[in-house]
Amino acid sequence: MPRAPRNILLSLGGITAIALLATACSTPEAAGTEPTAGGTLVYASGDAEPVCLDPHVGGNYPQALISTQYLESLVSKNKDGEVLPWLATEWEESEDGLSWDFSIRDDVNFTDGTPLNAEAVKANIEHLKDPATASSTGYLAVGKIDTMDVVDEFTLRLNLSTPDSGLLDSFSQPWVAIESPTALQRSQEENCASPVGTGPFVVDEWVKQDHVTLIRNEEYNSAPQDAAHDGTAWLDSIKWRFIPDSASRYAALQTGDVDVIDNAQPDSIAASAAADTGITELNAPRPGASNRIELNSGKAPFNDERVREAFIRSADVNDGIQSLFFGTAERSYSVLSSVETYGLSAPEYFDVDLDAANTLLDEAGWTERDSDGYRVKDGQRLSLDFPISTNQSIPAEQSLFEQIQATTKLAGFEVTLHPLDLSSWYGMLFTNDYNLVSAPYTKVGPDVLRILYHSDAIVPAPSGYYANLAQLSDPELDRLLTEASEVSDPTLRGELYDQAQEIVLGGYYVLPLYDQQNHYLYGSAVNGLRALPTVFTPTFYDTWLSR
């Protein structure tokens, strides 16, 4: 490529040529901006290896990461959070909000040759709702869909049990992506190993614990509106590797054995930014809830608002974030991710004030201190259990929890940290055996607030997962969240969500920390990488390699 412009420049001659040449020299990448097709990109994921490549089954972030490459959703979102048509071209909500008509693209085929149409979409929603699928995230997303009518070949009507203002948000998620109905009829084992979609890549091979090979879909024609080009992807294939150790993952990026890594740790990000490594960072915070510590208000001592406030007033978070995250994470004062338009940030509730904390604890009756400096009431120490999932909290975050433990001790709190593997961690939550907990939750849109803080989400333990880990039970909050989930008017919706978040933050149920950390690092050969603005998984459709 560089040769062509130079020949032209030489023939021009004179000052113009020199000026142009100077411009060309000062921006060397200008000559290489023309994408080149071909090559295999190696991606290294630090997230768990999915147990199933079909994100309808279960439904977590590792599945979203990889399925973004081969499955597509009904709608997408652009950088500003506006909903874009994707496999659905248009949609219309009925006056009463109880039915939606979706027009489906009529020119798209799944990679097994099955045509995309209204029947295919219907089959997907049925698949998500079928208990045998064992869908979790996708199941919730389509929870309000009652019945479906195929109006004509490319029009599907959804009849809802109650209006759902979050329906388009839900449909933008990779866990509700559309798969070939023919492929869905295979056994679950088969479909997990090779799900079939309409995306720019196709699942070719899965070598367990090593890699998944994705190859280009040569028939691809359904790029989202905000993509940089049309037609097929540039890359021939992607080798999707699983490298659990963060230091090895970063080393492999440095040596060029891999091109892109996810779950980049704060020290690696800082190191790659400080040195001339040719490594670039893509910071793409996840939507939905921020990373936060929930205070279990369902039992003592946090059933007393004064004790909750005292804890939050004595927890010094900012210094810990500064030192442990090397400036790669920004403090959040909101329960929603900063990419959510309806997020309310309220720093005033989170000023550190040890005197205020001490006064509050005195008022709440925790007046004595034992020989270790912890507060005592009626012979009981002010002890808090904090189970930590080592599968979900990175080392820097675990150190931050230790800092919080140290600073709240000054006010007289005894925080016991329990680092646990995933199953044991769930075990402590289900048996209500916790006072503090940090649990990630990724979902598109503010309706995540209803999942996390509506009192319906306090299912009596030990029956299973409940998302309302703060055990917040407030009828006024329930009313606001339910109403907000049913009104589509943006202004009214915003007001309702503001009031709801005011209750959650002002009641000291939650200590927000930062956005869910989602940092990608990539080598100098990688061009045109972006994160899809739905759940900020990378998409390699526009990506090409210069090497």
């Binding site: 279960g58 614990q209 230091a247 995933l422 044991s424």
Partner: protein, 310 residues
């Protein structure tokens, strides 16, 4: 006759060990808190409904009483059925079959390299007199004490990111094996070397070494033809144990170097409470351990006739 009795005793002992391992794992995984059904439904960030949880519990028999589940499992194992992985939905035998050879290659190469390093160090140190023995012993103690994860990180920093000689992650071909094998071999070599050096020193001062020297045998000849056999005996006996320690070391090494294998399979399976996989991997490891210790005992009996007499 004696050999047959010995073999039968070993087989009987082996079966007992396998039963004990299966039982310990079954009840051990149920004692620690945690719900396999929840982990099965995607774990972090996913929000399983009650219906989905119930369905999974029914599908996997998790709604049955614990003793029933235990007996069902024993019955299956007795007939050679390892069951299906909760999380990966594939046959456990098939899964282990895929992952076994990678780990076997890793452990066998590491054991071989550890032997070479230990023998090399022991003979080298025995040559250097008192000072040589002290340096050798110091090196062995350090080598035996370094944790695998630390050694692996050091190797990656030195040979991958700084010198660019070797890949930090597994790649096809022998190149990707170098760092994992050295990581596993060095601590083991330190341990084996400590044991061997003592008996080597004893052997070099024993009457038969003296008589060999008197016959005009060179010092190297004495070392390699006579003394090494004695030095190797405790090493052979310990190789069965060493093999077991390599299998546990594989968990760390396979994770750090992103190698597929039984160690990583086990780690993931424990995190997900994937009981059939944990049981299967543990049984296969125990079986491998039993086979290797039996083999080393047999080699011992051949190498040292005194054992056969007793």
């Amino acid at each position: 006759m004696k050999v047959l009795a010995w073999l039968l005793a070993r087989v009987g002992g082996g079966v007992f060990v396998l039963w004990a391992v299966a039982t310990l794992i079954f009840f051990g995984l149920r004692m620690i808190p945690g719900d396999p059904a929840q982990a099965l439904l995607g774990g972090p960030g996913s929000n399983a409904s009650q219906e989905a949880l119930d369905q999974v519990r029914r599908d996997y028999g998790l709604d049955q009483p614990v003793m029933v589940q235990y007996l069902v499992m024993l019955g299956r194992l007795a007939t050679g059925q390892f069951g299906t992985s909760y999380s990966l939905k594939v046959g456990v035998a098939e899964l282990i079959g895929e992952q076994f050879w990678g780990t076997l290659l890793l452990t066998v190469l590491s054991l071989t390299l550890a032997w070479l390093l230990a023998l090399g160090l022991a003979t080298w140190a025995s040559r250097g007199g008192r000072a040589g023995r002290m340096v050798g012993s110091g090196m062995e103690i350090v080598a035996a004490a370094v944790p695998h994860f630390w050694l692996a990180s050091l190797f990656i920093l030195l040979f991958s990111t700084t010198l660019h000689w070797l890949p930090p992650i597994s790649v096809p071909g022998p190149l990707g094996l170098v760092l994992p094998v050295f990581t596993l071999a060095i601590p083991l070599a330190g341990f084996l070397g400590q044991v061997m050096r003592e008996s080597l020193a004893d052997a070099l001062e024993s009457p038969f070494a003296l008589s060999a020297r008197a016959r005009g045998e060179s010092e190297t000849g004495v070392r390699w033809r006579h003394a090494i056999r004695h030095a190797a005996l405790p090493g052979i006996s310990l190789s069965g144990w060493a093999f077991g320690s390599l299998l546990s070391g594989a968990v760390v090494v396979e994770t750090i170097f992103a190698r597929p294998g039984l160690g990583r399979t086990l780690l993931n399976a424990v995190a997900l409470r994937d009981i059939p996989v944990v049981t299967g991997v543990a049984l296969v490891s125990a079986l491998a351990f039993i086979v290797v210790t039996t083999a080393t005992d047999a080699i011992d009996r051949i190498a040292d006739p005194r054992l056969r007499a007793s």
